[in-house]
Amino acid sequence: MAGKLEMRECYGQALVEAGRENERIVLLEADLRKSTMGELFRQEFPERLFEVGIAEQNMIGMAAGFALTGWIAVASSFAVFASGRAFEQIRQSVALPRLNVKIGGSSAGLTDTGDGATHQSIADLAIMRALPNMTVLSPADGIEMKGAVKAMLEVDGPVYIRVGRIAAPTLYDEDYKFELGKIVVMRPGKDVTLAATGTMVHVALEAAELLAKDGIDARVLNVHTIKPLDEEAILAAARETAGIVTVEEHNIIGGLGSAVAEVVSAAGGGPVVRVGVEDVFGQSANSYEELLAAYGLTPANVRAKAQSLLQRA
């Protein structure tokens, strides 16, 4: 794999690039812009950056106000606050009126490793997914992050994008074209499917390597768009392989795993096994990898889950 890129830097840079091309983009920040990398945008467009202080609810309300006056309003904060603290504001002031507000959920998943459970976001996909009119994105690497930010700004409506505080292994070339709502088959395979989102895609790819050594041919899907979900690709995987293992840096309740289970169940298809944080709060850790290991977000665990699925199938 060709090096690593900081997800949040790519988010910040992509906003700057978009800001150059489109003068109608404003960015709102809630006292975390140096963490979200919204700071990059401020440096180039200070007049289009609004710092609202620690007041996420107010920030979302203000973003709605910007959208109502013809601006593309991007609001970033930590995912846990953007999605949680301001959820009611997003529902009423953004999703209900289908406003052109983009929400960047930074330090998502377990990537705010040291700050512990209060700062880790493992429910954002579940709650954003439950909102009508909302598009939910979760890119897998830095290149895809840039493409996703660009695509998000082209959507006329509310979008939530998940941004990890992590240097993620790069999976794509610079010429990668991000297609919203379209699953990317990262690796073909006929025995079992590993459907992953965000930076868990590379974990799934590594698991597929391990499975290959066991003689198991695993298909790997990058589900970068959680909503609207690419049902066709999910159903094809359910049909053509023995079952699906979902992998997400999120509670196994309500997120990617549930979305896939819903789709597959509706069609009466094969088994779905979920790998993720098993409905517990996170904790602080010294290293991110350590935390992933503590919650089973490892290639070895994905392999084990795939094997158990195949044994039962």
């Binding site: 203000m62 973003a63 106000g65 013809g70 009423q92």
Partner: protein, 273 residues
């Protein structure tokens, strides 16, 4: 001092708005009577005098904006919008009906002339601050008018918005505080004491004007004063009476979301004739 002829005209408009509010609820429905009646005079001045509007072109980009942070008082706004032709007349009798333009709380996607969806309290002021900033940034000289309820001041987000508006010196934002002293549960002072109100807004960096919210002349003067204020948001603290204009509803918490008997309905219309 405001022109007496203008004042008289606007007083008539306020009465018409009150009549429309009462008709919307009628004797068969429940609706937010009290809080709609308390803002009728302010709504009349804004829609029939102060605001720059083109009723035939609801999305005219140079219009002034009006929001109800206290979204449940939408009836007062609907009344004006119906009279001005934004909303068809028949909607007057469809309050909260399935598919109606007169939804229980204002819905910008359903109703021409509504600028934002509000209803969950405490959010509208933030939206107004965002609008004011957005307009200023776009080089527009449009103003944003917003009415905030006094009970709503319990909501912390209001103070978040208050702080932000002062910080950004949004002088194209004029807020009214509908200081009617009653909220859903009863007396504001008993539910959650919010006084002293002018001091709070001043401490949060606003230019504060105190008026009687049913005195058209005072509303006009306050808006004149507000127009001259620079680099500060303006809060017009309007002392009002919940249910104003309908004697049996005045200062009665039960008419926050009330139901009128046929007799009361007839009486209300007679009082507003």
């Amino acid at each position: 001092m405001a022109d007496p002829k203008l004042v008289a005209e606007l007083e008539e408009k306020a009465k018409m708005i009150r009549r429309n509010i009462v008709e919307m609820i009628g004797d068969t429905r429940r609706g937010h009577l009290g809080g709609s009646l308390s803002i009728a005079d302010i709504v009349a001045v804004l829609y029939y005098h102060t605001m720059r509007l083109r009723p035939g072109d609801p999305s005219w980009e140079d219009r002034d904006r009006f929001l109800l942070s206290k979204g449940h008082a939408a009836l007062a706004q609907y009344a004006a919008l119906i009279d001005l032709g934004y909303i068809p007349k028949e909607e007057l009798y469809k309050l909260k009906d399935l598919g109606s333009m007169t939804q229980g709380h204002p819905d910008m996607r359903k109703t021409p002339g509504i600028e934002a969806g509000t209803g969950s309290l405490g959010q509208g002021l933030s939206v107004a601050v965002g609008m004011a900033l957005g307009l200023r940034l776009a080089g527009k000289d449009s103003k944003v008018y917003v009415i905030v309820g006094d009970g709503e001041l319990n909501e912390g987000q209001i103070w978040e918005a208050a702080m932000a508006a002062a910080h950004y010196e949004v002088d194209n934002l004029v807020a009214f505080l509908d200081y009617n002293g009653l909220q859903a549960t009863g007396c504001c002072a008993e539910t959650m004491r919010t006084e002293p109100l002018p001091e709070k807004w001043a401490a949060f960096g606003w230019h504060v004007i105190n008026i009687d919210g049913h005195d058209i002349g005072q509303i006009l003067d306050a808006l004149d004063e507000a127009a001259a204020v620079r680099e500060k948001p303006v809060m017009i603290v309007a002392k009002t009476v919940k249910g104003k204009g309908v004697s049996f509803a005045e200062n009665v918490a039960g008419f926050h979301h009330g139901e009128m008997t046929t007799e009361q309905y007839k009486q209300a219309l007679a009082e507003l004739a």
